[in-house]
Symmetry: C2
Subunit: 406 residues, 2 copies
């Protein structure tokens, strides 16, 4: 008897009709003889509505109270799905995060799971029940409700699958899998039958968000077999697995793009040791994540440093960068929001040295200027003018023949 963990996102439980659809899938899995643990997000826009209510109380949104407020959304959808299952004759029980034994660090808003004590879940499973767990939440050592950050229900599902030794963790969402590129940009983008954990991590962090990156890391760490599939069709989704388990290693698996990028440049910094430290420590202290960094060559004892951050962080970055400029004696700073990042990702890239060059060639053929480049073992990213994004993604998709992926 296999153990299956199923996770349904907010759009999959956005109405009672959709919850009935979910209940049908759960029952099908149960009728196939499996034990089933279901993790649900809050219904549709519930979380955003609760945030909207909270905002009306004033400008200060205490993190602990926000977590207490937001966690109720998943508790409601878990109870409603359970009521639906019981009305269909399927024995089921809902558990909140703390009832499910999900313990986290004492951090609010984006806590990490520190431990799971699954005794209650195991007891209910042994009693023949479908266990419906409220996603996105846990309990701190001090007994407070915490939340795991946006997409946290993915992490709940993967962590439970790991701890319970589930045979599969199915992530149901409103897309039916991971594509070679965003189908809205590339009309002949193909659904990938499988990708590696590392490819998925790169794709997620590069803007092709299907799964919370932390959930993928967790799955990789504990070897959880993941599948991304649609809750609205019975089509096979995309499996996420170890490279070694993949049928074949592709050189390039997909093209990702990300418009949530802003570029900052500091001009004429003195070329002395410690300057970079000063800049990036200040940004880190203000919680601003830096993605790519380039430094120009020395020019009369001075050089320029450019870096990218998310566009969301730009307002906060303005004041920090101005302070840093004064501290370091830079002659000026510029801020650009009209940039974007395009990336190619593929597990086979590390053994094929010509891939980056092929990427640059494809962009050059389209007369797209590359402003910044960064690479890892399985990806190459370029910052370009935002206006060229669609053209770049389409060109790269053609260049690496991704419409022929199978």
């Amino acid at each position: 008897m296999a153990l299956v963990v199923q996770k349904f996102g907010g759009s999959s439980v956005a109405s009672l009709e959709r919850i009935r659809n979910v209940a049908n899938r759960v029952m099908r899995e149960k009728e196939d003889g499996n034990r089933v643990v279901v993790v649900v997000s809050a219904m549709g826009d519930t979380t955003d509505e609760l945030i909207g209510l909270a905002r009306q109380t004033g400008p200060v949104l205490d993190d602990r109270e926000m977590d207490a407020l937001l966690a109720t959304g998943e508790q409601q959808s878990a109870a409603l799905l359970t009521l639906t299952l019981r009305n269909m004759g399927c024995d089921a029980i809902s558990l909140t995060g703390w009832q499910a034994g999900i313990l986290t660090e004492p951090v609010h808003g984006k806590a990490r799971i520190s431990k799971i004590t699954p005794e209650r879940i195991q007891k209910e499973l042994a009693g023949g029940k479908v266990v419906v767990v409220a996603g996105f939440q846990g309990l701190s050592p001090g007994g407070d409700v915490t939340t795991l950050g946006r997409g946290g229900s993915d992490t709940t599902a993967v962590a439970l699958a790991a701890v319970l030794g589930a045979d599969i963790c199915d992530i149901y969402t409103d897309v039916d899998g991971v594509y070679t590129a965003d189908p809205r940009v590339v009309k002949d983008a193909r659904k990938l039958p499988y990708v590696s954990y590392d490819e998925m991590l790169e794709l997620a962090s590069l803007g092709a968000v299907v799964l919370q990156p932390r959930a993928v890391e967790f799955a990789k760490l504990y070897g959880v077999k993941l599948q991304v599939r649609s809750s609205f069709s019975f089509a096979k989704g995309t499996s996420i697995m170890e490279v070694g388990q993949m049928e074949k290693e592709r050189i390039v698996t997909g093209v990702a793009h990300d418009l949530n990028v802003a570029k900052v440049t500091l001009f004429d910094l003195p070329d002395v040791p410690g300057i970079a430290k000063t800049i990036f420590k200040s940004l880190a202290r203000h919680g601003i994540n830096v993605d790519m960094i380039i430094q120009s060559g020395n020019r009369n004892g001075h050089n320029d440093i450019s870096f990218t951050i998310t566009r969301d962080d730009l307002p906060r970055a303005l004041t920090v960068v101005e302070q840093v400029r004064q501290e370091t004696g830079a002659s000026g700073a510029s801020f650009g929001e009209d940039v974007a990042k395009v990336s190619i990702v593929g597990a086979g890239m590390q053994s094929n040295p010509g891939v980056a060059a092929a990427m640059f060639e494809a962009l050059a053929d389209e007369e797209i200027n590359i402003q910044m480049i960064s690479t890892s073992e399985i990806k190459v990213s370029c910052v370009i003018d935002a206006v060229n994004v669609a053209k770049a993604v389409q060109a790269l998709h053609r260049k690496f023949a991704l419409d022929e992926v199978d």
Copy 2:
């Protein structure tokens, strides 16, 4: 430094504007130098809306899941009030029922509080925080969320006041106190400055519902000083206290009426021992509460038994009574929904034997026929035709000069 428990009902927190109003009251109490524990109900119609959603899942409303669902309403209002307080510069923290240490029997839908472990509340109070507790809910020994039944937040507030040794428990509601009669029926009804616990209990159970009866019992048992007052005005409310603490003992304190009454009669029951037991055991087994009972005198070895139940229970009672009729050999049964109960309540009644007679006289003067009578030490109730209710209440209010109460 006094400890004050304040309870705000659903209408007092029905919108963010009203929650701000509540926050102002809480802060005023705090600024007076008091420690404050606040208990809140769910916002406005939240509970009914959640019940409406649950009903759409099908006819079976599992009690445990309903409790899991409904408890979120109070958790949301507690978090939103806390966010509001913090935005006003008042340090505060919200606690769910289980975080507040409210333990109950393992019963769903109307659990009784079995124990409170108030360490967390005491810790937060000691830290100078206003503690906002989600009312209406607790935790079962098995770790499930339970609810305390309609009006359960009253019980939460009183129980916390008892355990914490609070100096006062203020119940804020949409009426500004307890009246000598329903002001919608008697236009010169007077607000009572004080009533005894027992009078309040009788008034509540007789249809003049201002406080959950269980909350009043709890307050009496632990000597909690209660006050019912309006969250929309600063007028003094009604204090609820021991008879011995009252300035003067009134013979009649108020007139209550109740339209949620139905009358059932079984005809020509054989006058043998055990018949009454058979009838009322069957009803009890089906969870139908019987209020008043009368038995006619023996007539040829047979008699009739009439009793009243709540009108809500009538549909279920129909089948139970028909079974009982067949079992007992009664010749027939009748069911009446066109009845109501009027009652007078007063702590001084027990030492004034003429009170019941005065009541019957007042009703007779209005040519109102009395169908059933029941009495306790501090109340007399009569079942009459529903159509005569307003006339009866007005006549009784006049008869006992309740418009002169002070």
